[in-house]
Symmetry: D2
Subunit: 338 residues, 4 copies
Amino acid sequence: MGDAVTATLRLGVIGAGAMGTDHVRTITTAVPGATVTQVHDRDAVRANQVAQRAGGEVAASAEELIGSDEVDAVVVAAPDATHAGLVLACIDAEKPVLCEKPLAVTAQDALRVVEAEVAYGRRLVQVGFMRRYDPGYVRLKETLAAGDLGDVRVVHNVHRNASSATSATGPGIITGSMVHELDTVAWLLDDQVVGIRVESPVKDGLPDPQLATLEMAGGALATVEVFVNARYGYDVRCEVVGTAGTAALARTPSVSTRTAGVEGVEVASDFVIYFADAYRHELAAWTRAARAGGVDGPTAWDGYLANLVAEAGVASLASGTRQAVAAAPRPTLYDGIR
Amino acid sequence: MGDAVTATLRLGVIGAGAMGTDHVRTITTAVPGATVTQVHDRDAVRANQVAQRAGGEVAASAEELIGSDEVDAVVVAAPDATHAGLVLACIDAEKPVLCEKPLAVTAQDALRVVEAEVAYGRRLVQVGFMRRYDPGYVRLKETLAAGDLGDVRVVHNVHRNASSATSATGPGIITGSMVHELDTVAWLLDDQVVGIRVESPVKDGLPDPQLATLEMAGGALATVEVFVNARYGYDVRCEVVGTAGTAALARTPSVSTRTAGVEGVEVASDFVIYFADAYRHELAAWTRAARAGGVDGPTAWDGYLANLVAEAGVASLASGTRQAVAAAPRPTLYDGIR
Amino acid sequence: MGDAVTATLRLGVIGAGAMGTDHVRTITTAVPGATVTQVHDRDAVRANQVAQRAGGEVAASAEELIGSDEVDAVVVAAPDATHAGLVLACIDAEKPVLCEKPLAVTAQDALRVVEAEVAYGRRLVQVGFMRRYDPGYVRLKETLAAGDLGDVRVVHNVHRNASSATSATGPGIITGSMVHELDTVAWLLDDQVVGIRVESPVKDGLPDPQLATLEMAGGALATVEVFVNARYGYDVRCEVVGTAGTAALARTPSVSTRTAGVEGVEVASDFVIYFADAYRHELAAWTRAARAGGVDGPTAWDGYLANLVAEAGVASLASGTRQAVAAAPRPTLYDGIR
Amino acid sequence: MGDAVTATLRLGVIGAGAMGTDHVRTITTAVPGATVTQVHDRDAVRANQVAQRAGGEVAASAEELIGSDEVDAVVVAAPDATHAGLVLACIDAEKPVLCEKPLAVTAQDALRVVEAEVAYGRRLVQVGFMRRYDPGYVRLKETLAAGDLGDVRVVHNVHRNASSATSATGPGIITGSMVHELDTVAWLLDDQVVGIRVESPVKDGLPDPQLATLEMAGGALATVEVFVNARYGYDVRCEVVGTAGTAALARTPSVSTRTAGVEGVEVASDFVIYFADAYRHELAAWTRAARAGGVDGPTAWDGYLANLVAEAGVASLASGTRQAVAAAPRPTLYDGIR
């Protein structure tokens, strides 16, 4: 419990789709100190619905929202292609921004955001890698930090969705889904991906599931299975294997039942349900930081790195070969952040 | 997501001990729409500490706080002996009140609160049986409602604390700890306790653990083990056994580790940690209801019943015999609430 | 691994029903050093089937089988009412006998077996409380012996069958099913039941489930739920609660599956499957002891005590009151056995 | 339960090290119908110890044992380098042989065994891939066969030992440990490995852990982690991921304990304990088949394939590149076996 911050943070939310709507629901029901004053979406009807529920107004354009005197900070939950541009506009307006992943569609565009932030000279951007706020991942990182596992050698990751949109593509699975693991493994190990290989057992049609191997600068290897049509539900697993032991995300169902010869627990249906706590903590931490004039969590630099590794992954899936990942030099603005 | 309620609820908190402090922490970090404007505690120093963190003022007395124009609703987390009197004062002041369990020290005093509320003609009192807001218990009740378990025959409950205060007594274990199960079982089954037997394997010294058997009006039986010096941690379990299957609270640790020949998960250290979500949902639901001019959750009547059954339990522990529980007639004010 | 015993033990099996058939299957497939030479059953057809599979002969009567020169030791898996008489005949014939529980229909009859064995002067009788050979229960007893749990205060037991015969009765549930817990708790704690109370939520029709409370001479209390029409499968649980921690039988499914929104494991369908290892170890230990001229495991005295406590339980269920259990003085023949 | 086979199978056991000793213990305590008549080991003292316990004789040489009139069938648990030669001698002697894995040190040598068996015209050789008899793996294969998982896309395998001999080498981890997964995955999927890649996060010193990716002829991919110095205990996991769901080996601890803030279950210390049931079922099935004049389980051909894939794995670990696996044409003798 820190000292009280009295001013309420006035938020503008760009994007009133599933993610934006859920963020507004979380803010209005579980995040004190923030109020949604403006909402924009290309679809005015749903912008209006969300704005009404939140007690805010509809902004005619994203630009207007970002520039508004009624908006202290911005949540970007619009289509991926717009992210980099909107975040740049927020930097221009000198307003803190929480941008849903990915930060940009290409690593190059993400680097432009980094450069703009560096030019501005102070961090304003948080990228929506909400897993860093999930109680399980947080506890995993604490367990690693406590040293009980020795040196980390391997991290195993599984990431499954019940079903994907029919528009899903092989590269899209990497940039849209696997990107979470690309960030999470680096964050957990305080390390960087320097090589990646992605392959799929499915050669015809959508390459799903995909298996990736990540090589970390520090030597550890990580495996990643992403399966966006796993049918049975939403499922995320992470096991860290060290020289003295292992630690893994635990299951957290609410109840277990015994009926008809089966002892069973529910599997979450989707990520909004599975990561509800993570989204709540993410929004609360960002709000807290913004009210105090600062910023928290995954940086634009993390967003750039995730884009960069994802691009290498896409190249690997296409070529069938391992791809090296060579990042630009890290600006000092991002020193010591994790 | 309901329609927005614009006015912020101004809360007065009576009691700045562990529970009151935690409630204030929860309100300020996770409950939008409420602000703590006044705090009172017999210990002015800790009242001041909590008030400062919350951005509120210290009230010189509980009466002053309840009567203050700066207070819309009251949280009572003061010593048990003061509960009934404070809640009566809140009813007098026509302000919604969330009172930590127990509602009163005796069933007779609890009944006085009920009568005052009935005389006032509208419900203002919520008793702090927070388990009704715990995601596990909620899901358990939903599972029962879905009918998959058939008719309920038995409910098994386990309730363990790592250690008790040295001042713990046999009756105190019933009125302070087992009282949660006395309410929860009735709520889960939408039924009422009509008989209770309490015994302990320990005949000399503190009778701990205690085993209780509850007879429900509808015929089901419930077992309760309460063990307030279980040493290993805080632990709550509930299994409902029906004619077609069973359902139980599931474990929800964050991570599991494998080290030194053991695969293990953490056991929560105390109820504040174990029921953090329950407290948050309780406070959020109460705030939501109060902002809308209403009240939610466990009623003064539920508080009275829990007191009544606990008294019978105390008598049973002392006498070694089963005690019948005969409640007063239920006022119509409480019809259809659950 | 002990020194080799060369002679093969020639077994006579009385009773070719489900239990007897399964014992013969276990002996022929998993117990070296024993061979089934004679089988008797009132139903000659099934006696013949079992004998053929085992490579043995059909005996015209139980008496003939017990007296046969081709039979070194006897397995009694005939109807309960015949147990005591058959075991007495085995003692007369000076042959080791493994008798399915219960040892007798009444405690008085069981005591007669005890007296006959005492008169003979050497133990020949093992009662089929196979749970004492179950790897889980064995590990539980070892855990208790290691002292990690402190002093035992409570034991919780659950014992469920998918469904009972239509001929099931309230007393039969105690003498046929609960009798396992009556023995197991005493064995685990190396203690004796001195009081019992049995009740059921079902007042009309078959009193099922039943809840029992056992008072041990050493002060500990045990709860037992027996539910012979639990529908969902066969289920046995045991948790020992000590002053420093608890230990419980763990689940041991073969696989877990995730399909259609559920992560599930199979529940065993019946006790033959659930306790397959226990039956195997029981038969192996008994065979090993008999080949070495001795006897192993639960004694006639244990069988008598189980009968005695069950009778008190039946009286409690009928009367609704707690019943004291007063055993005869233990003959020195049974000193130090556990 | 099949019809009785009266003749006892007389076994010769070559190798009285840890594995041979454990096999003899299993045979004498849990496998009816077999007796160990001869034991040979280069170390006469330990040969004598094992022979005495089993009630058998010591054979002066492996050749003498294989040729003895007192030996109907042979168990080979001698050093790896002797396996192929001993199995060839058994084929010469027309005696069934259960040979510990690997069948040979090189795929070429294994192929020689295959050719000898083919020349003989009837199968005599079973290779000791005991996992095929493990209840968990068996249930996993049944679950796959039932079709509930849809088409298999991925299999994840983890295989950990607490510690390795100081003589362990990178290639040895593949041929000695990973070889189990090389056989198991093929058996589970009724498929064949056509490509393999092995890498390790450890570049200096023993390459441990190792990660392998297996490409199956049918398109599925398998991941394998082998970690022979995992410290915390022995651990085996297998999850099969299909288009309709997944199935995995479940944990089967005996008890769970709650002490000092941790709910824990024991991890097995080594494979002899973990796979005790698998070894028992393996020996029982082999004995049953041999008594009936036949053979069961994994064939010499399976042994050859495992050798072949392991060799490719060794080459991959050395070269850092994916290796194709091209098997000789399968002799018709092995048609339809699985």
